[in-house]
Amino acid sequence: MTDAPNHLESLSRREMIAATAAALVTPLLPGGAAAPPAVGVPGKFLTAAEYALLDELTELIIPADDHSPGARAAGVAGYIDGRLAESLEPDWQARWRSGLQAVEALSHELNGKPFLEATAEQRVAVLTRMAAGEQDPKTAPERFFRELKGQTAHAYYTSKIGIHLDQEYKGNVYQRGEFAGYDAT
């Protein structure tokens, strides 16, 4: 819990605006209220410190931009934490815990300080190093990157924000003639 205020302070102004914008936009979408942004919510499985780290990592992978809100507004960290909390697979849970520790270790190695105390550029440097072996991961942080990115992407692109605001998906509705195709006859 003690880390949550630090985490809030670490939010950039742009991120705060994006998160707020998402909260304003999403209730207009079909299907009712949006999932609340996960900002500052203490973890269910993860400690508050781990949770804050995960939340920042997901937002670095899929950030808010001019087009759409990012992973934080989509509640990605909260979703991942919820899945970890109910999981009956201790190996999977342990991989996440040790993966987040590996991120911290790499941050100390590269920047000499904890990830969330590093500058924006320093954080990106850590993630860049983790992503270097994406196609053929070898080190612990590289292996964790694929898991982290996979879960982040899955949670984001199955979220209300991901499907409707980012991807602008048009289907899953009773069609009224707007199908963008051609007759083959």
Binding site: I61, A155, K170
Partner: protein
Amino acid sequence: MTLVKVAPPLDQDVDLSRTYDAVIVGSGAAGGMAAHVLTTHGLQVLLLEAGKKLPIEQELRSMQWPYDHPRRGDEPPGSHHLSFNEYTIRKPPYAKGAAFKHVYSYVGGWSGSDYVKNIIVDEKDHPYTGTNYAWVRARCLGGKTNIWGRLALRLSDYDFKGKSHDGYGEDWPISYADVEPYYDKVDLYLGISGVKENLPQLPDSQFQRPSKLNVGEVKLRESLKKGGQVLTPYRAGVTTDGLKHNKYRSKCYGRGACDRRPGGCDIHAVFDSPTGLIYPAMDTGHLTVRPNSTAHEVLVDKNTGRARGVAFLDSVTRKSYEAKAKVVILAASTLESARLLLLSRSPQHPNGLGNSSGHVGHNFCEHVMGPGVTGLIKELVGKPHTLDDGRPGGFYIPRFRNLKDRQPGFIRGYGYEGNSGHSMFPAHVMDTAGFGGQFKKNVRDHAGAFISMGAFGEVLARYESYVDLDPDTKDKWGIPVLRFHYQFSDNERKMAEDMVATGREMLETAGIEVVGQDKEILTEGWSIHELGTARMGNDPKTSVLNQFQQSHDVPNLLVVDGSSHVSASCQNPTWTIMALAWRSCDHLAEELRKGNL
């Protein structure tokens, strides 16, 4: 017309003291069709289904958004779906020793496997042994038709007369002309969407409104056309115009996202056996359905050697019952029907029922799949996203190999299933490198700009490919299980190489950059198109059934599912299974009327 959402009630207490005209085992495409045809002829029919009758709309939840599901579609903790890796490095029974409470076959779809957990069987209850095989089974009313991939294709004389064409295997005891009228009946009774192409290797159906092709698909179609090849809109077993004679099924409203689950449609625009066949058959007043009925033996009259009924256990209480009938019709699926025949040993039939030929369980075949290609249509990158998936499927490229040409490496052929365009989930996300703003933009810009296709090829029927009963392993109900002796051979491996190389060439010729390819063949069984364990033929020494799917040994026993198929063809089998079942049951009704049985 108002769609009837409430299915007719099933009988709580089935009268087992009477002798039915026919008892059918299995309620999928074959069993449902047998029930439809025989009740139409006024016969009194009992249908046994091993699984439950599910509230299927609540299982499928066709339009549920991922974010409205607590696990975005995934199964709850403690349940596990087998992966390709597990099927490869382990041996059946795959659930043996698993730490999970429930273990299921691979079937799920990208949106998660929670939607099929009550439809497909728990591998823990339903083990099998032997060689690697991804055996997908659905025990519930309607079986696999509840989730089928809905590609509805006809076979041609390239298939029925394959041996005459290339010398391999056996010809079927029928030709296309024998089956054509029954394909027409199936088309008109159940509805099918597609475009006529006038191809000898893929005969046309009586189509309803076709689905459209999108930009990438038209580009490939036009390019293939120049080389004399065909890309046609997905021939879907879907009613796009509606069916006036069926009050349980709606027409397709192009709601899309049909690719996110293994299949299934909660408005039943896609054919499924319960709404397409069984409920209408119940409305005739001639059909009794008993779910939770695990058949384990076809009973034989000690004096005549003829079938007299079916022994079954209540799947829940495990109590034993017998159903008596003048005719027994097996429609339990290719492998389960073979298992039932092998289980039905008696002094008259020591090798299993209808197995004097020794061919029951043999000549087992299917479709090989896995190889495929993905291309990028550059001019679509960065374009606004459009509604591209409001349809039951993308496209199909019919077989083109070994028709007029003779390939050096392999005999028979394959077709490609594919699609292009924007869908709910950007499948390319993990193939998009990096992270951050540029990564996010790349995912967005490239969504909808890919075209993918994967091949389904004919696996040759071989006597050496077979299943038998495992002497040591039993299922949850104490019934001996199947043991597999089945592996792909060189013909399939050579064909698989051609699938990738030719797919690349097709895309490149169309000016589409190849950005991905899958060379790996998926585990045996992956296509869920198992066929041929009780094949038809004119010679009782080398076949199990005659051309009307009647046992050579036991004339009042029919096997009307895919086990009767002589070869796998490369076309998806469901429509042929139903056409043949209709033909055989018409013949059966006539024989009964004449007093020949």
